[in-house]
């Protein structure tokens, strides 16, 4: 590349950044872009976000135009893909993986007129909002069903990575299970992957071999469901997507990441000019965390109990993390009657008291 084109390059970049993008006319569709960390066919995380994208198209029809780039590696490729979306005239861009955080911050800085939404992160800017779901609420319901239904008193949990979201899930499930069944024991296996069917199958087999008959998973493939089915007497819960092909047993219920209501809401806000940067942590009440159908494999009383808990959490009368509650090492996490704040939960990297497994260091 010669010097001339270097100069041209700089000039043009400044131009792009400076002029920004003109406000769109009313009859032009709002362009919305997505980047996914996996393929849309992963049937888990990226698939659910793409379902959200489709929901936008369904609701707004001709008024929107959506596009996406899938299987984007985290890092510089993400930054380029996001810039690409912004340059293509997208006015609202969803970056749907935690690892896209710093790239999204960088690109948001360059395109002040474009609205960015980053899933599961914590960095905000004037034109950058973050959103996440309170998956732990769904875990509490699974814990209740699991605690009631286990015969071996052992509940297994396949963790992905030791990050707050997963610790919240493990602790919420354990606390709920313990409430209905004081003898319950929690077994945790960290797979260090979000998606690796073979490894997830191994993790499930290891837990089942250890006597677990209730299996919760925080990884996205259906491999653990298949292992549970093979074992025969193990129940499971769908993760991310409904995984209904394994219903009514082993899959007795599920937590579904339902991004559609949030996405539709934010698109509406951009259209009528009320969009503002904020951190959203949606739960069962806003529909972001959806509880998949509880099948008939669950006794009616247990099902009723689980559904009541769901309503209580949605209504705000019950919070899965309510004191008195100690950390695993015996130190106080929440005083009697105290309810965990979102900040406390966002920094949760420990097990609660009663879980005997050692946390990874």
């Amino acid at each position: 590349m010669n010097r001339r084109s270097f100069l041209k390059t700089t000039a043009a970049t400044t131009l792009v950044a400076g002029v920004g993008l003109p406000a769109f006319a009313a009859d032009e569709p709002l362009k919305i872009g997505f980047i996914y960390v996996g393929p849309v066919g992963d049937m888990g995380w990226s698939y659910q976000h793409d379902q959200g994208r489709k929901a936008i198209e369904e609701k707004y029809g001709d008024k929107v135009q959506t596009s996406f780039i899938e299987s984007v590696p985290e890092g510089p490729d993400a930054e380029r893909a996001l810039t690409q979306l912004a340059l293509a005239g997208n006015k609202l861009i969803f970056a749907t993986s935690f690892g896209f955080m710093d790239a999204t911050v960088n690109v948001a800085k360059k395109f002040p007129d474009v609205k960015f939404e980053h899933a599961t992160g914590y960095k905000l800017a004037d034109n950058l909002a973050v959103y996440d779901a309170k998956f732990y609420q769904g875990r509490a319901i699974q814990g209740t069903i699991g605690g009631r239904m286990t015969k071996t008193n052992k509940i297994g949990y396949i963790g992905s990575y030791p990050i707050p979201e997963v610790y919240q899930g493990i602790n919420a499930a354990y606390l709920a299970a313990k409430k209905v069944n004081p003898d319950v024991e929690m077994k945790v296996v960290w797979a260090y992957t979000w998606f690796d069917p073979a490894k997830e199958a191994d993790a499930a087999a290891a837990l089942i071999a250890d006597g677990v008959d209730v299996l919760l998973q925080h990884t996205d493939s259906t491999a653990p469901q298949a292992k549970a089915q093979e074992a025969g007497n193990v129940i499971t819960f769908g993760q991310a997507s409904d995984m209904s092909s394994f219903a009514p047993k082993p899959r007795v219920s599920s937590t579904i990441d339902n991004w559609a209501p949030y996405y539709n809401k934010r698109v509406g806000e951009v259209m009528d000019g009320t969009w503002k940067s904020e951190a959203t942590w949606g739960g069962i009440d806003t529909g972001m965390v959806e509880i998949g159908e509880i099948t008939d494999a669950v006794p009616a009383v247990v099902k009723a109990e689980a559904l009541k808990l769901k309503d209580d959490i949605a209504g705000g009368t019950v919070h899965p993390f309510t004191g008195p509650l100690n950390k695993q090492d015996g130190s106080v996490f929440l005083a009697d009657g105290e309810i965990a704040t979102d900040e406390q939960l966002h920094g949760m990297t420990f097990y609660v008291e009663g879980i005997t497994a050692e946390a990874p260091k």
Partner: protein, 310 residues
């Protein structure tokens, strides 16, 4: 039987099933490498086997036909590789890497629409009372037929390589293609056959993954199993029975670390995951030290292009 909270019997039974896909792929790659060709495209062939096997099984309702289709798809991919490296004399390392890229992409295209579908189940063999024998029953008599077939195939490969004329020719081609050519053997044809077998085995391994072990189809579901198969061939120093040992060691360490976790131990997962690779290097070093002035463990022509005029 339980040591430190780890049930040895379950561990053994688990690792047999868990290791089957890489065992199949590694056995195939061993034959290819014995003929002097290094095919780094195992991952690409496996995933094509996974998707083709899955699609065929779903379409016909027969897992057996699925396995056949998986093997065929793997063999087809290997044939493509053979054309490029044997006829067009392209570099084997680069072509193998390209094959993996191609296979990962193509399988994803073929597999669109199969996500979330469940394949017909592959039944476990019924050994009757044998399965009820303590310890031995669950370890040896609780699997589906492919698990036994994979071990049998190792035995067949061992026998053919060691005791048959075909095996002799294959090894001769792998040790010195020029000498083999001078003796009148058709080097290229032998390598086509060896690569084709290797591809079929990788495809079979892939099909086992999507039809039995997981069982479902998703993009990129092999998640690096093909690369482990390559490592196992090296670990095994190109001996069939050691491939079995290597596959069970790699599978065993994964299974063990998960079981240790299930038993409540906080273990350094990443350090443990390194172990098989470090062990492989150590084995390789010991072997090469032993063979320093004698026979090399690796086929002498491995990775080199052959052309009759050279």
């Amino acid at each position: 039987m339980s040591i430190g909270g780890i049930d040895i019997v379950t561990l053994a039974a688990m690792l047999m099933a868990a290791s089957t896909p890489v065992l199949l792929a590694a056995t195939g790659e061993l034959v290819a490498e014995k003929s002097g060709v290094l095919n780094l495209g195992v991952e690409g062939m496996m995933i094509m086997g996974a998707v083709a096997g899955f699609a065929a099984a779903v379409a016909t309702g027969s897992p057996v036909l699925g396995f056949v289709a998986g093997a065929l798809a793997g063999a087809l991919m290997a044939t493509l590789f053979a054309f490029l490296t044997q006829i067009f004399l392209s570099n084997q390392v680069a072509t193998g890497l390209a094959l993996t890229l191609f296979g990962l992409g193509l399988s994803a295209l073929i597999g669109k629409g199969y996500e979330g579908v469940r394949p017909p189940p592959t039944a476990k063999l019924d050994f009757g009372p044998l399965a009820d024998i303590p310890v031995i029953g669950p370890i040896f008599f609780s699997h589906d037929w492919i698990v036994y077939a994979s071990v049998l195939l190792v035995a067949v490969v061992w026998f053919v390589l060691r005791y048959t004329r075909a095996g002799l020719i294959l090894r001769a081609v792998g040790e010195s293609h020029d000498a083999a050519h001078a003796l009148g053997y058709r080097v290229v044809a032998v390598r086509f056959a060896a690569l084709g077998f290797g591809g079929a085995m990788a495809g079979l391994g892939g099909a086992y993954l999507s039809l039995v072990r997981v069982p479902q189809w998703t993009e990129g579901m092999t998640a690096g199993a093909g690369w482990i198969a390559l490592a196992i061939v090296v670990f095994a120093s190109w001996r069939p029975w050691r491939v079995l040992l290597g596959a069970y060691m790699f599978g065993g360490i994964t299974a063990l670390q998960l079981q240790l976790q299930a038993a409540g131990y906080a273990i350094p997962v990443h350090i443990l995951s390194m172990a098989p690779y470090v062990i492989t290097i150590v084995v390789l070093v010991i072997l090469s030290a032993l063979h320093r002035h004698g026979v090399q463990a690796a086929p002498a022509s491995l990775g080199k292009s052959f052309h009759a005029s050279s």
